[in-house]
Point group: C2
Chain length 336, copies 2
DNA sequence: ACAACCTATGAAATCGATTGCAGAAATCGA
DNA sequence: TCGATTTCTGCAATCGATTTCATAGGTTGT
């Protein structure tokens, strides 16, 4: 691989001048510039980014930490991040933390030593965030994504409260009054907010909440399946289920199907996320859509702004949600 | 951030000695070593990888290029790669090429300048591979993944021929004789091999192939949907469909469902991939499983071996496949 | 014509580590 | 005891770019 020295020699100038041509610095004679360009062309020279990084103390890389890339939501987020990063000439280092806090802490450390210019982090745990505060203190630009903590850190999150509200409201508008809730760990802010949105919608429509058809701490597909089975055992009638993600909703649908009931004729199901697979299920899942791609874009834009010392107008960007109507919600059966 | 110089000063030694302690070089006095370690501890020193990379001419990073991270198959592959990379102290740069050859070429160039130690590439196009040959020539370790080209390059691919054969055989064993085929572009080796496996199984069982129920060049969910609709119009009876991926299979299932028929009672459906979502569909999809995670692991191991000048025993690693029995395949309806 | 000021360029320092070479100190052998 | 060998350490070069500083030569203004 040719170096700048080779280019300079061929062009008959010093490396300083050759470098000036590359960086587009002002004072370079047109003729010399042309000679240098020619040499660059002839040798097929390309800047060595490692050397450049060392000298400039910046590497042109962004780190993106996510809990688990197998969750399709995060692969869409990732695409949004990389698209914007590429536009601005940044390379993205993707780190999958395997839903493990320890892993996350180690990764941050490792990448710090590699002089990553900025971090975008969808943290595994919202409770233990000492490492995030430490990172913030070390002055490396940091943007939190999806998950946020209770401190002054630039964040991009979805309006989960509104999402919970809209999803519930949609069911209420269809005529449902007995709406079961299948959610995740309420210690995570997004789960909690979706739940609060659900409660608020019920309240606004004058529907009494019923603790018995509210199930939380549910994880994954199997969790959704089990939750519905429990609900069906209760013999308490419910005509719709609001799930806090699409995966749980698919598990719920299977339980309903296995019980010999039909979606949406007997029970309507509502998801949350709008993953690709929600359009593929049979019947196709009605769900609250999160703008995953846009969130990735926004986070990347923000971290790049921080790198360039541009302060964002607001610390926390709340992304909007919307209901995507498909085939798992209909009016409730008359026998209620 | 403290540098090695700071450490050396605090320990009262030269940077050379401090460096020797870090790199674990032989001749360092135990007492000095201890003093240096103490200084490292006290300052919280951590090696600067940019400087280290420049001097050692290696960066400790691997590049993983994939066509599209939204394809869940590749997110599993990615996890396999990163797991092994981490074990060996490598950081992975993931590049999503958006199914675009030009994008792939540019990315390779960009990463070359960053002195990536090795490349793992699931190339977008198997036809245009000049850039891959050039990369091979530049002596940077390279492993091809999933997609392969017709040259002497270390590759990790799945035994697609056997996959096509096994899937078909499974249907034949269940009693099916009229098996439709819904496949992708036969110019891609994996599609072609799956198709050839299908033909061979038919032949081995003495079943005549029928071009009319063989549809190729199908893309995605919608493609699978359309393909089945065309097949149903033919009024040629078929009792099973072999799809060359799970997404197409889900599209096929929806078409069958929309036609008022039932899977598997009227028509059996077989997929290929064994994505997470194939377990979530209703009924759950019977499919030919590819060991995506293991392929990622294998590719990472191979590229690391190449970096360390360990030659692999065979140039092309053929990963095994297996049929995962779920609920979309049963014996054909009697009326045939 | 002379001071003041540009313009264009090169020499050398710098980023932060690793490593070849040389030499001091310690150990060994006879 | 003296030379030979081994052990340990430091100096300085190196990786490949960027950037500060100095300066030669040219231009401008008065």
């Amino acid at each position: 691989m040719p170096t700048l020295k080779d280019v300079a020699k061929l062009a008959g100038v010093s490396t300083s001048t050759a470098s000036r041509v590359l960086t587009g610095a002002a004072n370079v004679n047109e003729a010399t510039k042309a000679r240098v360009m020619e040499a660059i062309e002839k040798l097929g020279y390309q800047t060595n980014f490692v050397a450049k990084s060392l000298r400039q103390r910046r590497t042109g890389t962004l780190a993106l930490l996510i809990p688990n890339i197998r969750n399709p939501f995060y692969s869409i987020v990732t695409k949004g991040v990389t698209a914007v990063a590429k536009q601005h000439g940044y390379t993205v280092i993707l780190a999958d933390c395997d839903d493990d806090l320890q892993h996350e802490v180690e990764t941050i450390n490792r990448l710090k030593n590699r002089w990553v210019d900025g971090f975008i982090i969808a943290t595994t745990s919202e409770k233990n965030y000492d490492h995030l505060l430490a990172l913030q203190d070390s002055k490396i630009p940091l943007v939190l994504l999806v998950r946020k903590i209770d401190r002054e850190i630039t964040s991009v999150v979805v309006d989960d409260y509104r999402g919970g509200y809209l999803g519930t409201e949609y069911l209420l508008q269809k005529g449902h009054r007995r709406i079961a809730f299948i959610g995740g760990d309420l210690n995570l802010s997004f789960n909690r907010n979706r739940y609060l949105g659900y409660l608020k919608a019920l309240k606004d429509w004058g529907v009494e909440k019923d603790e018995e058809i509210i199930i939380t701490r549910i994880i994954g597909h199997e969790g959704g399946y089990q939750a519905v089975n429990e609900l069906l055992l209760l013999e308490k009638k419910f005509t719709a289920v609001l799930c806090t993600n699409d995966i749980k909703a698919l598990g719920a649908m299977r339980a309903i199907y296995d019980a010999g009931l039909s979606v949406p004729r007997d029970i309507s199901v509502m998801g949350f996320d709008n993953l690709d697979l929600s359009a593929l299920s049979i019947p196709a899942l009605t769900t609250v859509a999160q703008p995953a791609y846009e969130m990735g874009e926004e986070a990347a834009q923000r971290v790049i702004d921080l790198i360039n010392n541009i302060k964002p107008p607001n610390l926390i960007k709340l992304m909007d949600v919307s209901v995507v109507e498909r085939d798992t919600v209909t009016v409730p059966p008359v026998y209620l």
